[in-house]
Structure formats: C-alpha cells, structure tokens
C-alpha cells in the first residue's frame, strides 16, 4: 500500500485535480437544477473518469510522461504511461482551486521566473520545484512561443527530467509538415527509449481514430453555432478547451462531444438560448478567463452575450489517415499539430488569421469581437490592432481589447473584466 502511495505521489497535482474536480462535480450535480449547464456537468464527469484511470496507472508504477499542450495527447498513447498535460493541469487547477495555483506562480517568481512569462508553464514549474511532480520524461514541441522555448529547459536543467523536443518549423508548407512529422516520429522513439518501451503505433492509431471522430463532432457543433440564437452555452468553450488538451484521444472525450452535440441539436431545434435571450454575439479570437469560468455564465445570463467560440474552438484539423503507411500518418499528425490552437497562428503570418477572423465574423453573424490579450502571449501581442482595424474597415464591427492573465486573477480581476465588457456592450445596444 505504501509503495502504491509513493508511486501516486509522483503526480500529486493530478490527485489535487482529481479531488477538486470530483468535489466540484458533486457540487454541480447537487446544486444545479436538472438541466443546468449540462456541458459543464458532462465535462467534469468525463475528465474525472480519465484522471481516476491515470491515477490508477500511476499507482501501478507506469512511467509519468509530461506533455506540452500543443502535443495532442493521443500521440503518446503508443505507450503505457501516465500522460500529464502540464499547461492543462495548471490551468484546470487555477479554475478549480479557491486561489488557483497562485502559490506556485509565486514560488517560481521568487525563484527568478519573470512576471511576464506564461502562467500555463509557471504553475507546473512551481509544482515541480515543490517536488509535486516526478516525471520520467517530458515531451514538447519547440513552438508556439518564446515561453515554451525558454521555460521548458528548466525541467531538464533544474530537475534533470529527460526533455524530448520535436522541433516545429515556423512556416506552413509541405516541407514543414514532412520535417515536423519526422520530428514527432523521432521523438516518440526517443521517448520510448527513455521510458523503456517500444512505441505501439497500432494502439496509437485507435486513439487517433477516436480523435478523428471527435473532430467531426466538434465541427458539427461549431457549424450549429451559426444559428441565431447560438445553441451552445458560453462555458462550453472553456470546458471544451479543457477536454481538448487533457483527455484528447480517449473514449471520454468522444462521449463528451457526442452528448454535447445532442444537447446543442436540441437547443438548435427549439431556437433556445442557454442564457434566456441572446442580445449580442461575440467572437473571442483568444481565450476566456481560466481563473474564473463564472464569467461565461455571467455573460450568458446577465448580459445576454454569446461567446460563439474562442481559440480552442475554431481551429480544426483534417482527419489523420491511419489506413495508409506510417509516413503518411506522421505527415498528417504534423499537419494537425501545426494546426493546433495558438500553434496555427504562431507558425503562420497574420494574414491568414485576419482573413479567417473576417470570414468567421460574417458567417457567424458576429456583433463584436472581444480580444483577451494575455500578458504572456507575445506572439499575439502585435495582432489586436491589425484585427481591430480590419474588422472596423471591412465589416464595421467593433472589438474590445482586454489585457489580462489567463490563469491569474491578480493581474486583471474578474470585476474589472466584467466592468469593461459591460461598458462595451452598452455601446452596442
């Protein structure tokens, strides 16, 4: 028993996440009316199940493999291991714990991590510094940002965790996909060598096929969002982002989207809005607040503002071909990885993103854009004004810019964010 506890203690934050998620799930089930925020309920249940399974695997002594959020989790399903998404774990905890993971941010800042770096990494780094994680290996791409490039070496240099890097070109063409596909393949073999396993690509294919289906479902939900009123609840964006990076490639992820699609279809048929009345349709080209997801409900119910989608919910990859040879599969995997939210925008010039935003604004009948600029995301730091001007000049749509930190309420409080949105929406109505 003691040995099992010791093994589980290699992933204490996952235990924290599981416990906080279970409590929240129970609370949500007991307090909310029967049909209250179904997307949240379903997501909590699915993620909880996956985490429980991962904790069991940790107790069995399987290797702990940390992965960067821009590595689709199904890519490491070729190993028998405990997958831990570093950014996903940190941000989910920032949502679920009372003061988020501020303690770990502060720990890292005191150690010298600059205040302007990404809290998605700062949190897990603090947890590592506090010896809450013991990774057998960490797998990351060299994208999408300077934060990734500069923060990940810490794990190797300070804690000696093997760090496996798949170099991702900042260019999007056939040669880039071939290069990155080779990098993924090479990295998986290297990861296997480090944890003492042969990659089982047949097993990986099955998880990739699950995600191929998930992509179809997500796209269907996205398409339904064109309807007026929007049939999704705002919180869908937040929880979908969570499942997207935490439980990708699992049956739980698939059933989450299957169940949500049914709910969305029903609302669509009834022309029903989750918050009651849709007054304003907004597109969030970046993210919603992770440190407090209640913003989503407040927007839905108090202001009647629909968040049609955020960055995690408007980027879609083509299905990965699992029926052909391995090289084709890795080529498609590279394409998907480079089309990942944030990575897509980072590895390409802004021109495509501008076009995409304008197109979506038209297709989804958006009234406005709300651009949350996170302190750490420098690669997005020179985009807002270009977008604002393009929206104004070409479509006459206004954009609100809010500077914040996705995972730290102390930078810009929820109250301030709400005030800004409220004043902005008053100008629209």
């Amino acid at each position: 028993m003691e040995e099992k506890i010791a093994l589980e203690n290699r992933v204490i934050p996952i235990r924290m996440l599981y416990e906080s998620l279970s409590t929240t799930h129970q609370l949500v089930e007991e307090i909310l009316p029967e049909n209250g925020i179904p997307e949240l309920r379903i997501a909590l249940g699915k993620v909880k199940n996956t985490l429980r399974r991962n904790l069991e695997k940790a107790r069995e002594g399987l290797p702990i493999v940390g992965y960067h959020f821009a590595i689709p989790a199904e890519y490491i399903s070729c190993f028998e291991c405990v997958p831990v998404c570093l950014e996903g774990t940190g941000y989910y905890l920032s949502t679920l714990l009372l003061d988020g993971v501020e303690k770990y941010y502060d720990l890292m800042i005191n150690w010298g991590h600059p205040f302007h770096t990404c809290t998605a990494q700062k949190g897990p780094m603090g947890m590592v510094l506090d010896d809450l994680f013991h990774f057998d290996a960490i797998f990351a791409p060299t994208a999408p940002c300077d934060n990734t490039c500069s923060s990940y070496p810490f794990f190797k240099l300070e804690k000696k965790f093997p760090l496996i890097l798949a170099d991702m070109p900042f260019r999007r063409d056939r040669r880039s996909y071939e290069y990155y596909g080779e990098q993924i393949k090479k990295s998986l073999f290297e990861l296997g060598r480090v944890i003492g396993q042969e990659p089982d690509f047949e097993k990986m294919k099955k998880h990739i096929e699950i995600e191929n289906r998930v992509q179809e479902l997500r796209f269907e939900i996205f398409e339904l969002t064109k309807a007026i009123p929007s049939p999704i609840s705002n919180i869908y964006n937040a929880v979908s982002a969570g499942t997207f990076i935490l439980v990708s490639g699992t049956q739980e992820n698939l059933s989450f989207y299957e169940e949500v699609l049914e709910i969305v279809k029903l609302r669509y048929k009834k022309k029903q809005h989750h918050g009651g009345e849709e007054k304003i349709r907004s597109i969030w080209p970046y993210m919603v607040t992770y440190f407090d997801m209640s913003l989503c409900e407040w927007l839905d119910r108090e202001l009647g503002v629909s968040v049609l989608f955020d960055i995690f919910n408007y980027n879609f990859a083509e299905p990965i071909n699992t029926k052909s040879d391995l090289d084709t599969m890795f080529y498609d995997m590279a394409k998907k990885g480079m089309g990942w939210p944030m990575v897509k925008q980072s590895t390409d010039f802004y021109y495509a993103s501008l076009e995409n935003c304008l197109q979506m604004a038209k297709e989804f009948s958006a009234d406005c854009f709300i651009y949350t600029q996170s302190l750490a995301c420098k690669q997005f730091g020179s985009f807002p004004q270009l977008l604002r001007e393009a929206l104004k000049d070409e479509l006459g749509i206004p954009m609100l810019l809010i500077e914040f930190d996705v995972g730290d309420k102390r930078f810009t409080s929820l109250k301030t964010i709400k005030e800004k949105i409220k004043m902005f929406t008053q100008t629209l109505m």
Binding site: P114, H116, P153, L157, Q183, F349, K378, G381, Q385, L401
Partner: protein, 383 residues
C-alpha cells in the same frame, strides 16, 4: 585620444550614416534585419549591405504602441515606432526570421503599416527565414535549405546574377578579418588595465554593424593601433561581465560604468557573441555550406532551446579569463527568452561564487534612478 570623439564611432549614435548613403548612391541595396541568424556573409557576397535594425537614440514608442501591446519588447516596439516615422525608409528590403516572438512579427507590421502607408511609394521587398529552435543534424539540413533558397531569391529578385563561390569566399575573408579584429580589440578590453571600456566596445560594435565591412575593417585596424598605444584604465574599478538581451544604446552601459565599473566583457548580441566564431571552409564544403555551418552552430542565444549548457560553459570560462568581479544579467522587459535564461544563470553561476545582479530595463533609460541605485548598491557589495 578619446574614443568617444572618434568620427567613425559616432556612427553608433545615429541610424543613417554617410557610408550607407554612399552605398546607395552607387545603386547598391541595403537590407534591414534584426538577427544574427541571417548570414551576413551571403548578403555581402551579393553586393548587398546588411544593416542591423536598432533603436539607438530613440526615446518614444507611442506610434509603435498602437500596433504592439505593452507586454511586448520595448526595443522592438521602438524600432517599429522609428519605422512608422520614416526613419527606416532608406531600406531597400527587410529580412525577418523567427528569432523571437516580438521581432518576427515585424514582417507583417512593416508590410501593412510601414511600407503600406499612404505616402510611402517605394517598393520594399521582404523575405522570411525559418530557423530551427534546436541544434541537431536535421535542424542543420532545414536551415541549410532555408539559406539555399534565400540565395536563390537574392539572385533572382535582387541582383539578377549568380552569387559565385568566389563572391562568397571574398565575403568570408572580409567577415573573418572583421571578427578577428573585433576579437583582438576584445583582448585589449579584458586586460588587467583595459585599454577600452564596455561602452567604447559597444560603440565599436554598433558602428561596425552599420557600415560595409571593408570600411569597417580599415577603421578597426586604425582603432586597434590607437588602443595598443593607449594607456590602460588604472583607476579602482569593478570588473563586470554584462549578459542578456539587446543593448544598442550607450546610456545603459555608461550608467554602469559611471558607477565605478568597467564592463570588461559581455555576452550580448551586439557584443562578443557576434564575433566568437569564424567561417572555416573545411572537409570539401562549399563556401555557402561553410557559412551555413558557422551561423547554425555558432554560440547561440536563448532562442535555441537545447544549447543552454554550452552558453553557461562559455560564460564560466569568460568569467575566469576576464577576471570578472561581478556579473550583471539584464533583459529588456517582456523578453521571455532572456528572462528564463537569466533565471537559470542566476542559480547556476552561484557555484563560481561571483556576485550577480539580475535586472530588467526598458530599451532606453526611462528609469535611470532606480537602475542606478541597484547598480551602485551591487558594485558596493562586491568586495
């Protein structure tokens, strides 16, 4: 002779200079770039003058702030600000690579807002080079292909002729000589009684980056001779190594040196890192392959994710070689790359028992008093 009054070095105080004007009068092109991962030897072999974009002397970012949020690097924002004011209108082309998240977005911003502004009629070409973030064999092959394509582009769109092996060999020779001269000058800087201080070294480096290298080489030889004859600095001072992100303005180095220190060495983009490695044509490599080899495998900056240990070892060695009393780690605010690099160095260099100061700053001296207090306190602390 006081180097600060040297006419050649006064080039370091301005952006445009007579040598660039002269170059363009002869119908030759000037290409602006931000990063040393663009192989200058190749551009020079094409008869093009590479010009490192900098913000020297500029004190505003208000126009740049419109297009870049306040969390971005004020150095890059300042260069955009200057460009929006027309200061970089003399450029014939802009070459960008993915050095960092801030500078690589200048590709689009210059295109849409600087070269795209109504009153600006000149056609300015742009080119983008994608650089790997790791140093591996596959990364080398990727980078090689990028530079080979760059060469083809230069031949086709800029000079309408082939860049020959001889062009490249000549360029390599000129650039190697240039680096060799800079290294010789650096040796005079690390002496017990340094013949020049860090601000003068920075002036030399900036001026050197702003003119054709043949002219620079003549000037560097002259300066080297002057320095050899010069008496070394004998006053009581602390020997400091300056590490970190872009420094292209003397006010910062002077702030340190006016507080009782001499910057006897540095690890800066505009400093020693730029002249450590030479191009060597070996093993039957073509001149172009040799250039690519040098630029890719040279002493890196923190944008290379897997090369920290080599940078650390270099610094440890330089601390001993230059008999350094203290290290100042600095970064321009919001520079994540140097923010984390300096964090690691702060802990790792402790084993050498050398005092370290870790500071952040803006591109120009906006907060002089705060910095001065910290620097003076640090220097006083060094026994």
């Amino acid at each position: 002779m006081n180097l600060q009054d040297d006419p050649f070095l006064s080039i370091s105080n301005t952006i445009m200079n007579p040598y660039v004007s002269e170059w363009q009068k002869n119908n030759k092109k000037v290409i602006g770039h931000y990063c040393t991962y663009l192989p200058e030897e190749l551009l020079y072999a094409a008869g093009i003058l590479p010009f490192r974009i900098r913000s020297t002397g500029h004190k505003h970012t208000d126009l740049g702030d419109i297009y870049m949020v306040r969390f971005t690097c004020s150095f890059v924002r300042a260069t955009l600000d200057m460009a929006l004011r027309g200061i970089y209108d003399f450029l014939d082309a802009l070459f960008i690579c993915n050095s960092c998240d801030h500078s690589r977005r200048m590709f689009e911003l210059f295109d849409l807002k600087v070269f795209g502004r109504e009153e600006f009629m000149k056609q300015v070409q742009r080119y983008y080079v994608s650089i790997p973030h790791v140093i591996t064999d596959e990364g080398f092959e990727w980078y090689k292909r990028e530079i080979e394509e760059l060469k083809e582009n230069l031949e086709k769109n800029f000079i309408n002729r082939i860049i020959t092996h001889n062009d490249l060999k000549l360029s390599i020779k000129i650039y190697n000589e240039n680096r060799s001269l800079l290294r010789k000058i650096h040796e005079l800087r690390i002496l017990d009684a340094p013949r020049l201080n860090g601000s003068e070294a920075l002036q030399i480096s900036i001026a050197n980056a702003s003119v054709p290298k043949e002219i620079a080489n003549n000037e560097l030889k002259r300066i080297y001779n002057v320095l050899q004859e010069k008496e070394g600095i004998k006053e009581d001072f602390k020997r400091i190594l300056l590490v970190g992100s872009e420094v292209d303005d003397l006010t910062f180095t002077r702030l340190i040196e006016n507080s009782g220190a001499v910057l006897v060495s540095d690890f800066l983009c505009f400093g020693t890192r730029n002249f450590l490695d030479d191009v060597k044509i070996v093993n039957g490599n073509t001149p172009l392959e040799s250039i690519i080899n040098k630029v890719y495998y040279r002493m890196s900056c923190p944008r290379m994710m897997d090369d920290h240990v080599r940078r650390l070892e270099y610094l440890k060695n330089e601390i001993n070689r230059a008999k350094v009393d203290g290290v100042i780690l600095q970064r321009v605010n919001n520079c994540d790359l140097y923010g984390c690099e300096n964090m690691m160095l702060l802990h790792e260099l402790k084993e050498l028992d050398v005092p370290i100061l870790n500071i952040e700053r803006e591109f120009y001296q906006a907060d002089t008093t705060r910095l001065q207090t910290r620097i003076e306190a640090f220097l006083e602390m060094i026994s």
